[in-house]
């Protein structure tokens, strides 16, 4: 159906309130596709654990892309994995967001020149919302990335995009 999915041509006062509720609901329960690739995944797990407590932002790891809202690309993306990531991303329901975590998935990281098997940035395959720099980023950096993503969602609009 999608009655509220980019169906409107202009924003009026009623729409902005609905938008606020929808965006608030979305950004408060960003369920995460549990998907660890390399050493960044260790930092991601540390962020989920009790000390940094990802759960307080509503980030719960889910085993299936059907239940997930965000996917954190945490680590080196090889060419072989890139096709799988692409498919997992496709299988997540809209709206979906991507956090690219660490240098490897941002731009190829230490493999940027001689990594014959490494994708030079996950944004060549799927659209990234937030880049988190670091090699690997500290849990604080990942939390900051999540807050940035939440700010991005907070400003989303129901209005149809016009060119």
């Amino acid at each position: 159906m999608g009655l509220l999915d980019k169906q409107f041509n202009d924003d009026n006062i009623v729409l902005t309130t609905v938008e606020d509720i929808l965006n608030w609901a979305r950004l408060s329960s960003l369920w995460q596709m549990s998907f660890g690739l390399a050493c960044c995944a260790i930092e991601m797990m540390a962020t989920s654990a009790s000390h940094y407590d990802f759960d307080r932002f509503g980030v719960i790891p889910r085993p299936s892309p059907r239940q997930a809202d965000i996917i954190i690309i945490s680590g080196t993306v090889t060419f072989k994995m890139a096709t799988r990531i692409k498919r997992i991303y496709e299988q997540m329901p809209d709206p979906k967001y991507i956090i690219s975590m660490g240098s490897c998935s941002n731009c190829g990281g230490p493999y940027w020149e001689h990594g014959y098997h490494v994708l030079k940035g996950i944004d060549r395959v799927i659209p990234v919302d937030v880049y988190v720099p670091g090699c690997p980023p500290r849990p604080e950096a990942l939390l900051d990335g999540l807050l940035t993503l939440q700010n991005k969602i907070r400003n989303e609009s129901l209005v149809k995009k016009t060119v």
Binding site: M1, G2, L3, T83, Q91
Partner: protein, 137 residues
């Protein structure tokens, strides 16, 4: 005025309506952009092989039943070990009567051949012939 049962009925009614309304409203307003790839079976990003509705051998069911016997045995025997001393010799032998009946079931399924599993039956003569053929060639 609501009776006590009426309160429970109202509670159940609200619970049902809550679920139905939530599911219906979310169906109305959620984004709906199905693609072929999105509707594909999820196999950790791999290309799915065949149908997920695979037929399993019926003998797994029998094995599950046999497992259930020992499962129940453990569940009932562990509390029995904690309290049988309070009931003296009677309590002690009641446990053994219980074990005896489970043992009867075990003997029955053993006799019936449910513990037998179809094993590969290699024909040694054929294998030897194959080896000789390979050696000869």
């Amino acid at each position: 005025m609501l009776t006590e049962f009426g309160k429970i009925f109202a509670f159940m009614l609200i619970a049902i309506i809550f679920v139905v309304v939530t599911v219906f409203v979310s169906k109305l307003i959620r984004p709906f952009r199905p693609t072929k790839e999105k509707l594909l079976i999820y196999e950790c990003g791999e290309t799915p092989e065949g149908s997920p509705w695979v037929k399993f051998n019926i003998r797994f069911y029998v094995v599950a039943l046999i497992f259930l016997i020992f499962d129940v045995e453990v569940v009932l025997l562990v509390p029995w070990t904690l309290v049988y001393q309070q009931y003296g010799v009677t309590g002690y032998f009641i446990g053994f009567i219980f074990l005896f009946f489970l043992g009867l079931g075990m003997a029955y399924e053993w006799k019936k051949g449910d513990l037998e599993w179809a094993r590969p039956n290699p024909q040694s003569s054929k294998l030897k012939n194959a080896v000789q053929e390979v050696d000869a060639s």
